[in-house]
């Protein structure tokens, strides 16, 4: 088995850019998903009529359908309705759609995990529902959610590989491209594997460490 290391090294700049795209897509998706989830969680906690059911329905729909279908729908189906979207945009929209649903579940579980006794003692010192939410529930729900939130962030980052299907130049797409162009399958797969391990293994270990520090189970994922 011979390794064309010279070729591998020559592709490094391209892969460097690819990693950048992966991280970029991942980061944007994480932020937008979180924003969506915060909005949804607020609606769920406040039980706003109608909106609350809508959020529940959205979460069920997004969590029970594959990311790939969601992606293809946005990228291939919407243009026939007159909406043309780039691969990058479709990726962000879809990842947000799915990520938002998962994170909503995490935040909801976090809120429900705040012990009842906390609410009771808050009310008994005269806090209003709004103050209760702001000073007692949300901070504690936030901390309880941290491990699961972080786990889902890593999950979103890993799912960016799926958007290679709509030609977003992240690491998997770049690998496929080079294999198709130069037939150096062995070398390209090796680079891809190495990159994955370098990016995701530390994150996984960090997550393990975070879980142990905060000592809580996982929700939502």
């Amino acid at each position: 088995m011979s390794f064309d290391t010279a070729f591998m090294l020559s592709t490094l700049p391209a892969f460097f850019k690819a990693v950048g795209v992966t991280l970029q897509v991942g980061a944007i998706a994480i932020v937008t998903s979180l924003l969506v989830a915060l909005l949804n969680a607020t609606i769920l906690v406040l039980r706003t009529p109608y909106l609350w059911r809508l959020v529940k329905g959205y979460v069920e729909l997004a969590r029970n359908t594959p990311l790939l279908i969601q992606l293809f729908f946005v990228y291939f189906a919407l243009p026939s309705l007159g909406v043309k979207i780039s691969g990058f945009a479709a990726a962000i929209i879809t990842l947000t759609f799915m990520g938002g649903a998962y994170l909503t579940e995490v935040l909801r579980a976090g809120v429900e995990a705040v012990p009842r006794a906390q609410l009771e003692s808050g009310r008994s010192i005269g806090l209003s529902e709004g103050q209760l939410l702001r000073h007692v529930i949300l901070p504690q729900a936030g901390i309880l959610s941290l491990p699961a939130l972080f786990a889902n962030f890593v999950f979103l980052l890993k799912e960016t590989t799926v958007v290679s299907a709509v030609a977003v130049p992240e690491i998997l797409y770049t690998t496929k491209n080079y294999i198709a162009l130069y037939y150096k399958t062995y070398e390209m797969l090796a680079v891809l594997t190495l990159l994955c391990v370098l990016i995701f293994l530390p994150l996984s270990l960090l997550l393990r460490y975070l879980e142990r520090r905060l000592q809580h189970g996982q929700f939502g994922h």
Binding site: L61, T65, P66, F73, A77, T185
Partner: protein, 219 residues
């Protein structure tokens, strides 16, 4: 414009059904292997052997660090090169889903077994039960309720992930859908139908998992 989109779609239903059959076949086989492999993993992980645990952890981290789609490509492109094996992409998908699923189910089984009181193992040993007997008659039956809701969730994820098989060329439901779109241009309806298909398969499982979790919630 010839016949209405819906009519064209209805005519294409058999083709879609064949694709759906492939998707369900990949998922079912993946689930089968994931369950068997996961049970084995969980039992091995609780035997107390340090070397076994290191090996299992390596396997787990390998599947956690490398995304499933990347694994699909590694197996699909790599198997012919590394081992001279050329297996159809259907079985590549089943293999990857089975191995990945087994790592996930395995962790669930391990957690469930470890959550049992240590005395159960000791009581079983004290009446002379051997290894397989201990797990088969005492530990696994009691861990079953704790294992089931999370495992059903993993099954749902396997079904959803099976959709990635289209990217390595398997003619499953998405591919069938794309072929229909090429003929009928009804992309919204077809992708909508695919949405519905997966939702109808996965939602009952998710709901069942939640119901079971609530019903079997232990102190």
């Amino acid at each position: 414009m010839a016949s209405s989109g819906i009519e064209l779609l209805l005519v294409s239903l058999p083709q879609l059904a064949r694709g759906a059959g492939q998707t369900l076949a990949i998922s079912a086989l993946g689930i089968l292997f994931a369950t068997l492999g996961g049970m084995l993993y969980g039992v091995l992980a609780t035997l107390g052997s340090r070397w076994l645990n290191i090996l299992l952890q390596l396997y787990l981290e390998l599947f956690r660090a490398i995304p499933v789609l990347v694994w699909l490509y590694l197996v699909f492109f790599g198997l012919p090169i590394f081992f001279g094996l050329s297996i159809p992409s259907f079985w590549c998908a089943v293999l990857v889903l089975g191995l990945w699923g087994a790592s996930e189910v395995g962790e669930v089984v391990r957690g469930a077994l470890q959550s049992l009181p240590r005395g159960q193992r000791e009581a079983g040993l004290s009446i002379g039960l051997g290894g397989w007997q201990l797990y088969g008659y005492v530990l696994l039956p009691q861990a079953l309720k704790r294992m089931t809701p999370p495992t059903i969730n993993i099954y749902t994820r396997i079904i959803k992930t099976s959709s990635l098989a289209v990217l390595i060329g398997v003619v499953e439901v998405i591919k069938a859908g794309q072929q229909i779109i090429e003929r009928t241009y009804e992309s919204v309806m077809v992708y909508g139908a695919l949405f519905l298909f997966f939702f109808l398969v996965c939602y009952p499982l998710s709901a069942a998992s939640r119901v079971l979790e609530r019903r079997w919630a232990h102190a």
